[in-house]
């Protein structure tokens, strides 16, 4: 019997993968995708607990998260467009202005 517990484990794993992706990948677009993955993992956690606890508020939260994520994606991609026009690259190493 698969309980909410299983899904929480799954979401933890997905979150970890997403985080690793943010750190490792060089392409900014892919980094962004990894962030989306993390968001989804969080959503999954919310839904799992909503089911476990019988409280729909969890799903309401997911609703909002999705909305905000969509807005964020729109703005972020617009930034990437502008960035690409400026720097001709989307490689995190090359576009770094904060020189280390």
């Amino acid at each position: 019997m698969a309980t909410a517990e299983h899904f929480v484990f799954l979401s933890a794993l997905l979150f970890a993968i997403g985080a690793a992706g943010v750190v490792i990948r060089r392409s900014v677009i892919v980094m962004f995708m990894s962030i989306e993955l993390m968001l989804n993992a969080a959503n999954l956690t919310f839904v799992a607990f909503a089911q476990r606890l019988g409280n729909v508020d969890g799903q309401a939260v997911v609703f909002f998260v999705m909305t905000v994520a969509a807005a964020e994606a729109a703005v972020g991609l617009a930034i990437f467009l502008a960035l690409f026009r400026n720097r001709q690259t989307l490689n995190a190493d090359e576009i770094g202005l904060l020189e280390g």
């Binding site: 943010v22 770094g96 904060l98 020189e99 280390g100």
Partner: protein, 650 residues
């Protein structure tokens, strides 16, 4: 060497006053004046202050001397408690007893005359105020040295005069040779000072072990007999090493000839009349200790005699007027140590006094010649100055006769006393050395006199045209010193000649009297021998150099080896260079390259490099690398979770 009269038998009558401190304090204040506002105040003001404070000190010294009469054994000024550390208590106390009174009077009187002379000699010197600041400071230090009642306080003065000697020898420091001479003096002195300090410590330790630890002269002299023999001997020898540094004896005499690089009045004051006599004064002060260590006295006497002889031999061939006088000083100091060594402490001090008079006179006279000839110091380029500088000539003649030991003049009485007592003590070999030295002294001084003042002028005739007698500020002191050189000896006329040896009796309470006695007939014979030696020296020199001033050229050609040996002072400087200086320089080089650069600098650089590397590594993490930040965040979160979970689980 036999015991001398015990001072313990005399009852001590001590007067306590508060004015002694002004004797060294006045010149010290003078120094402060010159150092602070001197340059702005102008030459006249500096001259007035410099000579004024010396005269004030002399007046106070006279007062102290007067207070010493009427059955008072010593006048004391306890200034303040200086050191109070565990077992060691030292008071800064000044004391005037017959010995220090005599020294004080000599220092202030001769010092005053030399200050006056300096106003003339240094009239054109741009660093006028600095010179008098140093000169006043020197006098202040010397007076502290002389008036101290304990070794540490004397050491303060001792170091002070050493410092001022360095400052004054290297006065024209822009000339590196002169600056080096100052350094050499300081380093040689320092070697002696190190021994002095160890000797002081040994005495304190020994007296502390036996009862009360003390460093006062009075106490040390009393306690000396009861100290373990080895300690007394060691301390006496160590202190004597310090004295050889200060008083330019073997082995630490090498600085004095070089010290002639300083202005001539400095040579007169410091290196003839006062500082170099500090060693003799110290031994005389601690006569109780030295009597308790007879082997030390033997060492003192031997070193003194050898130094006297050696230095005189070197003086025979020197061509710089000041160098002749420098070696002469070393030689005469040797005489004084010889006297100390045979137990004739009073005679040594007597010779200190007479030597101060005629040696200062000779140096100042030399300065007058140098000044008149516009800085010519080579006697081969002089001659016939008798007519051009009559006062200088007359006073210089007086000084020469005095130092040669011509009867009637001061040098005769003091030197003769030393010779007689040396013979009486049984040290015949040393006596022979001393007599030979006397003959040589007469010889080289006559040579100096003849080559400088008589015959034809052998130098640049342009200089001769401009040669002139020195101003009154310079000739005045010359005359005064000449008079003193003539009459000063009458304070010590021995009984055999019908005198009462006023000076000897005056000093007796402090230094006792030598036990050795001579039959009057023996003494007269000895006197004859020394007079003979003196006249022989004068005569031979007169005959040689009076007729052929360039006789030296012949000598140097015929006896090249010997001549060079003497000219180079037995190559002692070279030996020291090779033994100590080269080694030190090489060690310093090694330390510099290997240790300082190789280790310390490398360490510092490595620290810097490691920080830079760390920074570089850090930069990768904390640079603009956002992903790095994210990773750190992530890792941090994990760690926090672990912590929370572990906390919750336990």
């Amino acid at each position: 060497m036999e015991a001398h009269g015990s001072q313990l038998a005399v009852e001590q009558v001590v007067t306590t006053v508060a004015y002694l401190r002004w004797i060294p304090l006045l010149p010290f204040l003078g120094m402060l004046f010159h150092a602070s506002v001197g340059a702005r105040a102008g030459r006249k003001a500096v001259n007035a202050v410099a000579c004024g404070v010396l005269f004030g000190a002399f007046a106070l010294a006279l007062r102290a001397f007067a207070d010493l009469g009427a059955g008072v054994t010593s006048v004391v000024d306890p200034v303040y408690r200086w050191i109070d550390a565990g077992g060691l208590t030292v008071d800064a106390t000044l004391v005037v007893d017959p010995l220090s009174a005599l020294m004080c009077l000599v220092v202030t009187a001769v010092g005053f005359l030399i200050h006056v002379y300096s106003t003339g000699y240094m009239a054109d010197e741009p660093d006028h105020a600095r010179y008098f600041a140093y000169l006043n400071l020197f006098t202040a230090s010397m007076l502290v040295l002389v008036l101290a009642d304990s070794l540490p306080l004397m050491f303060v003065g001792w170091e002070g005069v050493g410092l001022c000697s360095y400052l004054l020898i290297g006065f024209w420091y822009k000339d590196s040779a002169k600056a080096d001479a100052g350094k050499k003096a300081f380093v040689a002195n320092r070697v002696g000072d190190a021994a002095f300090i160890v000797g002081m410590a040994a005495l304190f330790w020994a007296t502390a072990a036996a009862g009360d630890g003390t460093l006062r002269f009075e106490d040390l002299n009393h306690a000396a007999a009861s100290l373990p023999a080895g300690v007394a001997l060691a301390a006496a020898l160590l202190l004597f090493v310090g004295a050889t540094g200060k008083s330019a004896q073997i082995p630490l005499f090498v600085w004095l000839p070089d010290a002639m690089a300083g202005p001539t009045p400095v040579s007169a004051l410091i290196h003839a009349a006062t500082m170099v006599t500090a060693g003799i004064y110290m031994v005389a002060r601690l006569n109780g200790l030295y009597v308790a260590a007879p082997q030390a006295l033997q060492v003192v006497a031997t070193i003194g005699a050898l130094t006297a002889f050696g230095a005189a031999s070197v003086g025979l061939v020197q061509n710089d007027i000041k160098k002749v006088l420098a070696y002469s000083t070393v030689s005469q100091l040797g005489y004084m140590f010889l006297a100390l060594g045979v137990g004739a402490f009073g005679s040594a001090v007597f010779h200190v006094m007479t030597h101060a008079f005629f040696k200062a006179l000779l140096f100042l006279g030399a300065g007058s010649v140098i000044h008149g000839l516009h800085d010519e110091q080579d006697i081969r380029k002089m001659g016939g100055l008798r007519t051009k500088m009559p006062i200088t000539w007359a006073t210089f003649l007086a000084g020469t006769l005095a130092i040669a030991g011509v009867p009637g003049l001061a040098g005769f009485f003091s030197k003769d006393e030393i010779l007689a007592l040396t013979f009486a003590s049984g040290s015949y070999v040393l006596w022979a050395f001393a007599v030979a030295t006397a003959a040589m002294t007469a010889f080289y001084m006559t040579r100096l006199l003849v080559l400088t003042f008589l015959g034809e002028f052998r130098g640049d005739h342009h200089k001769l045209d401009h040669a002139h007698e020195s101003p009154v500020s310079m000739t005045g002191p010359l005359v005064v010193l000449a008079v003193l050189s003539v009459v000063g000896g009458y304070l010590g006329v021995p009984a055999v000649l019908g005198g009462s040896n006023v000076l000897g009796h005056f000093l007796e309470p402090v230094v006792g009297h030598p036990a050795a006695h001579l039959a009057h007939s023996t003494e007269l014979v000895l006197m004859g021998v020394s007079i003979g030696a003196a006249f022989a020296g004068i005569g031979v020199a007169w005959l040689i150099y009076g007729r052929s001033p360039r006789a030296d050229e012949g000598f140097s050609a015929k006896a090249r080896g010997l001549y060079d040996l003497l000219t180079n002072a037995y190559y002692v400087d070279r030996a020291y260079d090779r033994a100590f200086v080269d080694g030190s320089v090489r060690a310093g080089d090694l330390l510099w390259k290997r240790v300082d650069v190789g280790v310390i600098d490398a360490l510092a650089n490595a620290t810097a490099a490691s920080f830079r590397a760390l920074g570089g590594a850090w930069r990768g993490w904390a640079g603009g690398n956002v992903q790095g930040y994210a990773l750190s965040l992530f890792v941090g979160v994990v760690l926090v979770l672990i912590a929370v979970w572990a906390g919750a689980a336990s």
